[in-house]
Amino acid sequence: MSARASTGRRRRALLGSATDITAILLVIVALFAILDFDAFFTTANLTNVLISASLLIVMAVGATFVLVTGGVDLSVGSVLVFSGVVAGEVMKAMGGQGWGAALVGVAVSMAAGAAWGVVNGLVVTKLRVPPLIATLGSFGAAQGLAQVITNGNDLKDIPYELVDTLGVGRVAGVPWLVVVALAVALAGGLVLAVTRYGRRTYAIGSNAEAARRAGVSVDRHLVSVYTMAGLLAGLAGIMSYAQFGSTTLSGHATDNLAVIAAVVIGGTSLFGGVGTMFGTLVGTMIPAVLANGLVIVGLNSFWRDFAVGVVLVAAVYLDQLRRRARTAR
């Protein structure tokens, strides 16, 4: 009995609600490895998978916090574009090249994203607009402003220093994009799992009124969570600009749904209170692995969207089953 309880506890600490989905990812990887080991299971190809997932990972880390509070952030893709555009304009005004412009660009992009996050947080907490609508509003507004600033034309001049490092550069063979994404995920995972900030994020999503009565400043915490989500979308904005050499105005309209799907597939509950960063990482990798592997085995990559849709619904169904089993006792 005690042995079973302790392994149960260990599994809960490690994977939590992400146990099933981790198995699914492993099965998918194994399947592609069996079908075409030489093309799929190479360092270069798996690195490509990680690169293609890196922007989503960064945004999904923020979205995990938001969903754990029981909220949602639909604005991330537009905030990404907006932040890249603002950073691009600032770097252009600084002469367009050099380390100075590059570093200022990174800082400005993150600040611009954080600013949208503050707006989202204040609209949700002070104006009491539901997160779905508040962030749908900023989804449209941020995209619109980005178009206004650029007059609808993508910015394309970015410091080479930024492209050569963050964009396409590598450290010890690992692309910068992947290093940054995994560092963000690790930091976010630690904050969520072991700190008071993370504990209160869960508590608010689980029962905001209980947290309030226990003396947690719920509104301030929520504003900070949306601000972090915005800041990470801003970071993804400068990463995207550096990677593609363009502000990709029209390239991120469905990022928000991709991010939410990844987080939810990873076992985070839409109702809040439940979720792990490890699960989010797994949930982000499933679409990325599918997209890559399906092409390698000769299937149309459009099947990815179909498969992700199925996995998403299955993940939420599992969450419902868990909740039902829990309340039935």
């Binding site: 504990r199 869960y202 689980s206 029962n207 009565r213 209170g273 006792r329």
Partner: protein, 253 residues
């Protein structure tokens, strides 16, 4: 007996509705006092006024000799008064220890603590100590409290209040949603809290519970105290009479 908590002549209006019309209430040290009254008698309003949720329009509230009327809820907490609300106020997805320490998390020593890292082991150990002291057996303390039975959840809520209440625990209908064995467990818990030297205010509609566990009973009717009874010297008929207005103890108000 010197009163630990004493409210005198408390008035509270909500618009045209006068919820408390000069209500008085007193709890001594180490005493279990049942606060009774029909629906709308003003029990919840009185408790919320004591806890700082509402500020009284008139009247005095003293706790351990200090005036506390109009203090904020957190200031009242800091005096050692905790309330167990009717709707539990637990976070169902968090485990027992996390709920006991909700809003008062212990941090790791040194640099990690300054980074906000929790002292999870220390909290788990203290939680299990508290539960052992109160003789509350939780099947799996690392499981979310939503997986516990109603009685166990109520025990966690009570344990949480007791952990932080050095002086006074207020319980709003703690047995309303419970079956017979769970109710007995909560009543035992109330006795143990009293035996540890703390005072308890029990709001309840259940006469058997009140007769079983309380030392005294104070009855409110229409926003005013209408009876102060010593439990061992009274009976159901007298209590019901006071609640319904068939009988009023003139000196109680």
């Amino acid at each position: 007996m010197t009163a630990l908590l004493e409210a005198r002549g408390v008035t509270k209006r909500f618009g045209a509705v006068e919820a408390l019309r000069g209500a008085s209430f007193a709890v001594g040290e180490g005493e279990v006092v049942a606060l009774m009254g029909d629906n709308g008698a003003g029990k919840s309003t009185l408790i919320k006024t004591i806890c700082g949720v509402y500020a009284p329009d008139a009247g005095e509230i003293h706790f351990a000799g200090r005036p506390i009327a109009g203090m904020s809820p957190s200031a009242v907490h800091d005096l050692g008064i905790e309330t167990v609300y009717q709707d539990l106020a637990l976070a169902p997805d968090l485990d027992t220890a996390a709920n006991l320490f909700l809003g008062r998390e212990l941090l790791a020593p040194g640099l990690l603590g300054r980074l906000g890292v929790l002292a999870k082991k220390r909290m788990a150990a203290r939680a299990s100590q508290v539960l052992t002291d109160l003789k509350v057996a939780i099947k799996d303390p690392a499981a979310p409290v939503a997986t516990l039975s109603g009685g166990q959840q109520q025990s966690v809520a009570v344990a949480r209040a007791v952990t932080w209440a050095d002086r006074l625990v207020i319980m709003d209908e703690p047995t309303a949603a419970l079956g017979v064995p769970q109710t007995r467990a909560v009543l035992d818990l109330i006795r143990r809290v009293r035996d540890s030297g703390r005072s308890v205010v029990l709001i309840s509609h259940s006469l058997p519970d009140v007769l079983a566990v309380s030392d005294r009973i104070e009855v409110l009717r229409l926003g005013r105290r209408v009876a102060r009874l010593v439990t061992k010297d009274t009976d159901e008929a007298q209590i019901v009479g006071a609640m319904t207005g068939a009988w009023t103890q003139e000196e109680a108000a």
